[in-house]
Structure formats: C-alpha cells, structure tokens
C-alpha cells in the first residue's frame, strides 16, 4: 500500500471552516520523507489548524490528508502514525516522567521490559537520564519540553508534529532547543512538521518553510528562497524586515513600475552616490545599528549596518545621507499580491 515515492504528507485541497470563518482556505502541499518542514505565519493564519488536521484532532471541511500514500482524512488520531508535541506539552500530571514516556507503548501493548528499555533510551536521547521517577510538575519548562519530545519520539512515528513547542521558553533556552531539535531530527531521520510564528526559528531550523497568510500558503521554499526572493509583499514583510517600494517611489528608485523589495542589510550608507534622504531614527542594537531613513523620493527605508567600529554610531538623527545597493538585491514582487508595506 505504501510506496517509497509517496511523500510523507500530502495535503490536497484542504479546507476547514469554523462557522462562517475559513480558518484554512484550500491548501495543497507535499512534505517529503525526512524533511524538517516549518509552517510559519502570524496567529490566526491557519497553520495550527493544518497541523491539527494532520494529527486528526480536527476533521477537514473539504480536501484530503495522505500520510505515506495512505488516505487518513477520516481516521481518528489513534489510527495515524504521527505523534504530536503540544504547545503546553500536555504531560499527564498524575504520571511520572517515565510513565508519561511509556504511555504510547503501553497503550499499544508493548511488553513491560521492552517499553521500559525504550522509554529510558528515549529519555537519554533528550539528555534526561535519571529523571524518570520525577513528576512533570517538578521539572522546569525546558525539561518538560524534552519529556514531551521523548514521549512522542519513543513511538517512532513516521511524522512528528510540533505545535509551537518552544513558545513558552525564554530566549536562551529557545535558541539552545532549536539547535538540539535540529540535531535530534537529523539523528532519527523522522519527518518533522514544525509550527511557529517566529521567523528566526523557521529560518534556522528548516529544510523548507511554508509561509501562511489568512488560511492559505503564500510561499513555500527553502529558508534562503523565502528570505531572498519573497513571492509577495506579505512574505517580504513577515519573514525578516523588508523595504518595499511601490508606485512613484519604485519608479524613482528602481527605474521601473512595480513592487520591489530590498532587505535592510543589503543597503549601504554612502556619502557620494545613490538616492538621498534624511536619517529619522537611529537604533543601536549591539552587533548592528538600525537606521530609519526618509528618502526624498518618498519612501521610508530601514537600513541595518554592522557595528564594525566601536563607539557611537557614525550617523546621527537629522543627517543627510545617500544610500546604495546592488541591483541584484532588488527583488521584484509579483504584482498580483496586495501592495502593503510591512516594516
């Protein structure tokens, strides 16, 4: 029944309506075996609903979900070969850590000795040896997160679904878990589907990223594709910071009609050539300084400059500056999209 050429997940015409609201408004997507795939979007863009339909917690209003070539659209969660890491971890409070991790194996009738061995192995895999006897309540957020991961991975699912699993952690821990998650994924070789609203997270961890906008996918691609060649001004604005030129400003700055995007770090502040403007804001941020420049051509742009020197930023508020960039860093955005500038 399963063909090795089948994608791990195939979504076809997937829709989900809650009353009059289309949370998911038609999604077609293939996720390959072994891929680290991120669904990125603002809250309410439908990414979590898609994840829940893959897991089986929500039934689609229309469309199908195939896992490894098998139609699972109408199957219950316990009939699907996927496991989920929940946003709130959803650890069972009345069970010890080891019992939590064992639960999936126990339910499936794995013998006691074997499930104990596998659960301990899984705990070791997330660096939690010796924590088995504890209750989840006696653990920190980062530890609970890893228990949830072990509890899902111990079942060796075809696909692991992660619903904003790092959202509740503080920044340092989050960055550490990002690296760890990626390492674990490489090691176990399972397909990871990772839902997040954090673009840094999506860019640093993923093989491919789908950017969600109001129930649809605005763009799918590698992090580099999505960042360097955004398909719409929404993507340009949501993934990283972007300067979008439209209308008269575009004609003056680029020399053509259309919608164009250029990333702040691609712009240089120079003295001699390029469009002229006034510095409206200078924000020092440690490794970089952000400048907001009001161009005479009628557009406000953000420029990010590395702080290679030490001391105060070179350019102060109110200074007149010229900006320059290479033509290949100007990305034309297909005109069918909405023309809203995001900063």
């Amino acid at each position: 029944m399963t063909d090795s050429s089948d994608p791990a997940i195939r979504l076809t015409g997937l829709r989900k309506s809650f009353g009059a609201v289309d949370a998911v408004a038609g999604i077609d997507l293939d996720i390959a075996d072994g891929e680290f795939f991120s669904m990125l979007g603002p809250s309410g863009s439908g990414k979590t609903t898609v994840l829940r339909m893959i897991a089986g917690f929500e039934l689609p209003t229309a469309g199908t979900v195939h896992l490894g070539g098998r139609d699972v659209t109408r199957l219950a969660p316990f009939e699907r070969d996927v496991n989920t890491v929940f946003q709130d971890y959803a650890l069972f409070p009345h069970m010890s850590v080891l019992e939590n991790v064992e639960y999936g194996l126990k339910v499936r009738g794995v013998k006691r000795a074997e499930r104990r061995r596998r659960a301990e192995e899984a705990l070791a895999g997330v660096r939690l040896e010796g924590f088995g006897a504890r209750r989840p309540a006696a653990m920190s957020g980062g530890q609970r997160q890893r228990v949830a991961l072990a509890r899902a991975l111990v079942n060796r699912p075809k696909v692991l679904l992660l619903d904003e699993p790092l959202g509740a952690l503080d920044l340092k821990l989050r960055e550490q878990m990002q690296v760890e998650l990626k390492a674990i994924q490489r090691e176990v070789g399972i397909t990871f589907v990772f839902v997040t609203h954090d673009q840094d997270e999506a860019l640093t961890m993923s093989d491919r990223v789908a950017v969600f906008e109001t129930g649809r996918i605005a763009q799918v691609g590698t992090p580099e594709e999505v960042y360097e060649r955004p398909a719409s001004s929404f993507v340009a604005g949501f993934v990283g910071t972007s300067n979008v030129f439209t209308g008269a400003a575009a004609a003056a700055l680029v020399g053509r009609q259309g919608t164009f995007s250029v990333r702040p770090e691609k712009i240089l502040i120079s003295d001699d050539s390029g469009p002229e403007g006034t510095v409206a804001e200078v924000v020092y941020a440690g490794p970089v300084t952000r400048y907001v420049v009001d161009l005479d051509a009628g557009s406000r742009v953000v420029v990010v400059a590395q702080n290679r020197h030490s001391g105060a930023p070179l350019v102060a508020r109110g200074h007149r500056v010229r900006l320059s960039w290479h033509d290949e860093h100007i990305v034309e955005i297909p005109s069918a999209t909405k023309e809203t500038a995001h900063a």
């Binding site: 897991a55 089986g56 917690f57 219950a76 969660p77 316990f78 996927v82 496991n83 989920t84 929940f86 946003q87 709130d88 959803a90 650890l91 069972f92 409070p93 009345h94 639960y103 999936g104 339910v107 499936r108 509890r151 899902a152 079942n155």
Partner: protein, 279 residues
Amino acid sequence: MTSLGSYLHRHPRLRLAGLLSAPLLWLVVAYLGALAVLLVSAFWTVNGFTGEVVREFSLANFRTILTEEVYRNVSLRSLGVAVSVTVICAVIAIPMAFYMAKVSKYKNALVIAILTPLWASYLVKAYAWRILLANGGPMDSIFGGPGYGIGATILVLSYLWLPYMILPIYAGLERLPDSLLEASADLGARAGRTFRSVVLPVLIPSVLAGSIFTFSLSLGDYITVQIVGGKTQLIGNVVYANIGAANNLPFAAAIACVPVLIMVIYLVAVRRSGALEEL
C-alpha cells in the same frame, strides 16, 4: 478616614485582627461551642424518674449504643445509605459532568440547569418524590416499585445531593486541559482507555470532594427518610426521637457523635488524597 487607613497600613497585625475577629468569634462560639456542648452532654444522663438531666460524667450512653443491637444496626444502616448515595451520585455525575465540561457547547446553561433544583425547597422535593413513589403512583405503575423504604430513601437522597457531586467534578474537568485528551489519543489510546488512564485519575480528588457533601448530607438526614423511608430508621431519626418524644438530650448527643466520628475518619482519609484542595 485616610489617617485611619494609613494607620492600619502601617500596622498589618491590627489589620489582620480586624479582618479575622468577627469570623473567629463566630467559629469559636457558634460552631466549636456547639460541638463542645454536644460532646460534654453526651457524657451526662437523664434521671429516669424525674426526667431531669444529671450533670455527672458517665459512659452509660455510649455503653448502650455499643451494646444494644438496634443502635448498631441503625448506625450501620445509615453508613450503608450514605455510601450507596455517594456511589450512585458519582456514577451518574461523572459522565454528566464530562458532557457538560468537554462536549456540550451550552456549558453555562447546563450549569444553571444543575443548580436550579437547589433553589427549590428540600421539603417540596421530598414530598414530590413521596407522590412519585406512592402506592399506585407513577413509579409504582411504571416500574412496580420500589415503594417507601430504604431503597426509596437512597433514591431520593441521590436525587437531592446529585448537584453537590456534579459541580466539583465539573470544576475539576474544566481545569483538565483538552490537550491531555488529545495527547492520549495521539499516543494511540481509544476513548475508553483515555478515560480510564487520563480522565479518571485526574478526577479522583474532585470525586472525593463531591463525596464529602453527598456522604455527610446523607449521613445526617432524617427528613427524607421520614417522608419516603417507610419504617426505616437512620441515625438522624434516633437523635430526633430522643430530643422530642423520649426527652433524653444526653443520649441524643451521644448518638449524634456517631456520624461526627464517621465523618472525621472519612475526612482524615480524604485529606491524605489532596481532595480538600478541590473544595
């Protein structure tokens, strides 16, 4: 006013005293005081000839309760009724509360529906059941029973105290995150398994909290049993009879200590489970 306010702000102990003195007075005088009088008078006796209370320490009342079979039977019967009512309430309340908290879209309406019977008088409800259970009445003609008696008492008490069991279980389920149920299904458990392995264990403190109400209310009841219990006697009836007809207050106090003792034992057992935090 501001000067008094700032004075109190600088003297937290005085503030605490002001806050607590009234409830403490109430607790000590009305509550503990009454209990103390009960306990003391249980060791007094009544002069059989004059009917006057003899205020001398005596274990005669307790000796009677322990040695005479009728009182032992009444105590055991009361305990049995309280346990049955509690079990019946729990069995009915768990699925009902689960439906209210996790399935229905009309949670608030259902909570109100559960609470409304509590607005009606206890007596009215008990007499309504008397009519339902009467010879030739609706229950009799449809089910052919059970008629007045201990079964009817358990039935009516279960009806009366059911809301007190549903509400704590409902509150407990409200606090049970949906994601726990989803996680269980996600890990391969069917609904029955999820209920046994995840919902029930999390619910035990709530059920125990509810059982404190149903158990103690049933243990002390003497009105329902008079209305629908036929010839059945419970501890409450014995207490009532000794206060009224027999005019033996000390003996009434002594037998009233039986449910108090049972409740203390039960509460100590329940406390160990952490259920009191659910109240």
